[in-house]
Amino acid sequence: MARSLRQLDYSVLQQCMHCGMCLPSCPTYDATRRERSSPRGRIALMRAVADGELAVSGVFAEEMSYCLGCLACQTACPAGVDYAQLIETARAEVLAKRPPTPSARLWRALTMRGLFLRPRLLRWAGRLLRLWQRGGLQAASRRTGLVRLLPADLRRLEPQCPFIAPRFSHQLIRPVERPRGEVRHRVALLTGCVQDLVFSAVNRDTADVLLANGCEVRTPPVQPCCGSLHAHNGETGPARELARRLIDLLPPESLDAIVSNAGGCGNHLRSYGKLLADDPAYAERARLWDSKLRDIHEWLAETGCRPPGAGLGPLTVTYHDSCHLAHGQKVVRQPRDLLRLIPGLRLVELPEANWCCGSAGIYSITQPAQSEALLRRKVGHIVATGADVLATSNPGCHLQIERGLAAAGSRIALIQPVTLLARAYRAEGASPEVSR
């Protein structure tokens, strides 16, 4: 993968014919009405940098950071521009040319080069955080004003910090689990980072749904981060290293599918081929890996998901598209179709369902104002549907929207589609009239 815009294959930039069809899909253009905050404007800036006509200035850096990376422009683009690759390359260049401030550097070192490279360490951090949250320390420090001693960035984040799950994925899922009947497919389950610490139950649900559909599920207890966080923020080196580690851990040759249940991770996971294209030892396997990578909904739809024999009672559900699932992976119809398989469930369409909720990786940290504005817009639409449940399938969206709904005083529950499916399968056993 190119580390600077100049190194990048120029035809990727040139593929943008600046027709402007992306403008109405872009949340930042919608907010500012300024060309430079639009996809085609940003691409024009990137091209000017590649042509040596524009410096990698502070404004350039700001604009690249202001982009959500939601990839809605890729859905709108008639010419198939690979915007994901462009914005990642631009951010890598910004990082190389404009060293971040010392505190941002420390942050990056701690997170991207520290925690998110070491899965065991990350879990230890999770345990510490859990202790802080459960042991009454959090409440106490808030009461006593101790939180004010935290650096400003951390203080702002502290109330947003997700509640750590009581147990992590490896405590819920055995390394190999077999379905009851015949094994129809052999798949690996990726447990993710945030998903593992916060939504390990969703990982369990995913395994259950796979088992209910004849899959043998392999779930290595310790899995490295997929590297999406790194790639999206210009840390190309660590991103490549993590990709290699994951390929070694789950050799694609031996699997029918590698299943991800987090939209953002999935989108990055299926671009290892591009990431490792110039690595002779891995290029070929990375391409094979990409061809086997599936989002859970996509995999279930493709292999024919068994309709659950029991429902969850009358339930009105609306669905929010995770950006990287919809715009990145183009998985749009499948989650909706799966939800409709559940007896008694009524699906109502959410207006602007595929408009970003403002979570966007670490965007809520780097661009809090824009992130909040998008969240308010999203929550307004959700509340107006009158649904009982909002379904979405990305940990970032989940946390962000859950926080937004709570702040708005809404009682709408947030449940991921696989969890609803898993509950329906479990209800089959509970209801005597249904035979398994």
């Binding site: 120029y10 035809s11 040139q14 593929q15 014919m17 600046h18 027709c19 402007g20 069809m21 403008l23 109405p24 009405r33 300024r34 060309e35 430079r36 639009s38 404007g41 024009a44 800036l45 000017a48 006509e53 524009l54 410096a55 200035s57 404004v59 350039f60 604009e63 008639p78 010419a79 198939g80």
Partner: protein, 460 residues
């Protein structure tokens, strides 16, 4: 010449400092429109909020002799809003209010920066219809549509933007504000001044407000798709349909190259060995639509269509329309540079023109897909090329020259809906002749004697 600090300060006072953009990053981002290979940075970009601000900016520019390039959403395909050197870009997207819908007189009044699709959406809320539907309607502004006299897929039955403009508010090159036309269906008071500004590409005045005519929304619609072994058969189908006194709202075609690209990209199961695909749609009263659809089907069969599919419902209609709707996207991803042309010929010469384009492309070893509006003779030969390959670009230009000559020989025009701008300026005199060309120049001089509004566009 760069603007002086005091000129910039004056502009900031007029529209607010945050609406005057001068950073290199902003100037790069307004240096182009939707046209391939045209780029020029302006000196500043100004985003006014209302007519008074537009007028004040124009007055200031005129006092200092600064050229002004008006811009809507910058989706133009002839370089109309590409800045001229030393110019200020006046970008009007902030003027995006719909001012009124009048259901008694069937009109809609809007500021120039309203997005085209929003005009029709507002009309639909009143059971009404704004028919012009350029492919860019989710992005383009209504002011840009009027300035380009844009067309769309419904030209044959519903006409083009001009047919819906009843009145305009225009800021003249000296900053005067004039109101032209009104809500009267009949009005012969003096010259039809509003018509002068329709299609004037920002060279005569700045359109700040529009008064549009609406029509009742059709109650029913039927869509069908036919494939043919010969382009002439598709063209004859169209002639026969019109001779049978049916005016369909849509008659769109794709040629063989385009069908192949659509199939590569969207895999919708089109036969790759057919020469033409025709998408037909009729709309109106349900009973009339049923009758017309049946007769169109018969005509298509009689004209040797290999297959005709009639959509049973809206969902299927949308599926059938996919082939036409994805034509441009399918072509645009084949090569790095896509040049979209829009030569137009009288309807009965269309098949001949398509054949001439294919022959010219082959002779110059170029990949050109042609699609377009068969009902109104408007073609979009689309060159798939690479602007960095000078040798290939020379062949593109040579082929273009021949295509333009051929279109003119067939009694056609160099541009049916995209405008002249920069891209087609060189051919205008060839088409209209010396006398007409001189008359255009005199008109421009009369209204904009110092040549400050969009200089260098349409005319040198």
């Amino acid at each position: 010449m760069p603007l002086t600090e005091s000129q910039l300060a004056d502009l900031r006072t007029l529209v607010g400092p945050e609406h005057v953009l001068t950073s290199p990053e902003d100037l790069v981002a307004y240096g182009f429109d939707g046209t391939a290979a045209l780029r020029q940075r302006p000196e500043a970009v100004v985003l006014p909020a209302d007519t008074a601000q537009v007028a004040a900016c124009v007055r200031l520019a005129s006092e200092h002799g600064i050229p002004v390039v008006t811009r809507g959403s910058g989706t133009g395909l002839s370089g109309g809003s590409v800045p001229t050197p030393g110019s200020i870009v006046l970008c009007l997207v902030r003027m995006d209010r719909i001012l009124a819908v009048d259901p008694a007189n069937l009109t809609l009044r809007a500021q120039c920066g309203v997005i085209t699709a929003a005009v029709d959406a507002e009309a639909a809320r009143h059971g009404l219809f704004y028919p012009p539907d350029p492919g860019s309607m989710k992005v383009s502004t209504i002011g840009g549509n009027v300035a380009e006299n844009s067309g769309g897929l419904r030209g044959l039955k519903y006409g083009v933007t001009r047919d819906y403009v009843m009145g305009l508010e225009v800021v003249m090159p000296d900053g005067r504000v004039v109101r032209l036309g009104n809500a009267c269906v009949k009005d012969v008071a003096g010259y039809s001044m509003k018509d002068l500004f329709v299609g004037s590409e920002g060279t005569l005045g700045i359109i700040t407000e529009v008064l549009l005519r609406l029509v009742p929304r059709p109650a029913a619609r039927r869509t069908m798709l036919a494939t043919y072994g010969r382009m002439e058969d598709a063209a004859r189908t169209v002639s026969d349909i019109i001779a049978a006194r049916i005016i369909p709202c849509t008659l769109e075609f794709l040629d063989r190259v385009t069908i192949g690209c659509v199939e590569d990209h969207a895999r919708i199961g089109l036969p790759r060995d057919c020469e033409a695909l025709l998408l037909m749609e009729t709309d109106g009263h349900p009973a009339a639509v049923e009758d017309e659809a049946r007769r169109m089907l018969e005509i298509a069969r009689a004209r040797g269509a290999r297959e005709v599919r009639v959509a049973a419902d809206e969902a299927e209609a949308a599926r059938l329309a996919t082939a036409r709707r994805s034509a441009f996207s399918a072509l645009a991803r084949v090569r790095p540079t896509t040049i979209l042309e829009d030569v137009t010929v009288p309807r009965d010469r269309l098949a001949e023109m398509v054949a001439a384009i294919a022959e010219t492309a082959a002779r110059h070893r170029l990949k050109v897909g042609t699609f377009g509006h068969m009902g109104d003779g408007n073609l979009h030969p689309t060159f798939l090329t690479d602007e960095r390959d000078a040798e290939e670009m020379a062949r593109v230009h040579a082929a273009l020259e021949e295509i333009v000559d051929r279109a003119l020989a067939l009694g056609g025009t160099i541009t049916g809906e995209h405008g002249v701008g920069l891209a087609k300026k060189a051919w205008l005199r060839r088409q209209v002749g010396d006398a007409s060309h001189d008359l255009m120049r005199e008109l421009k001089r009369a209204l904009d004697p110092r040549g400050l509004l969009n200089p260098g566009k349409i005319l040198d």
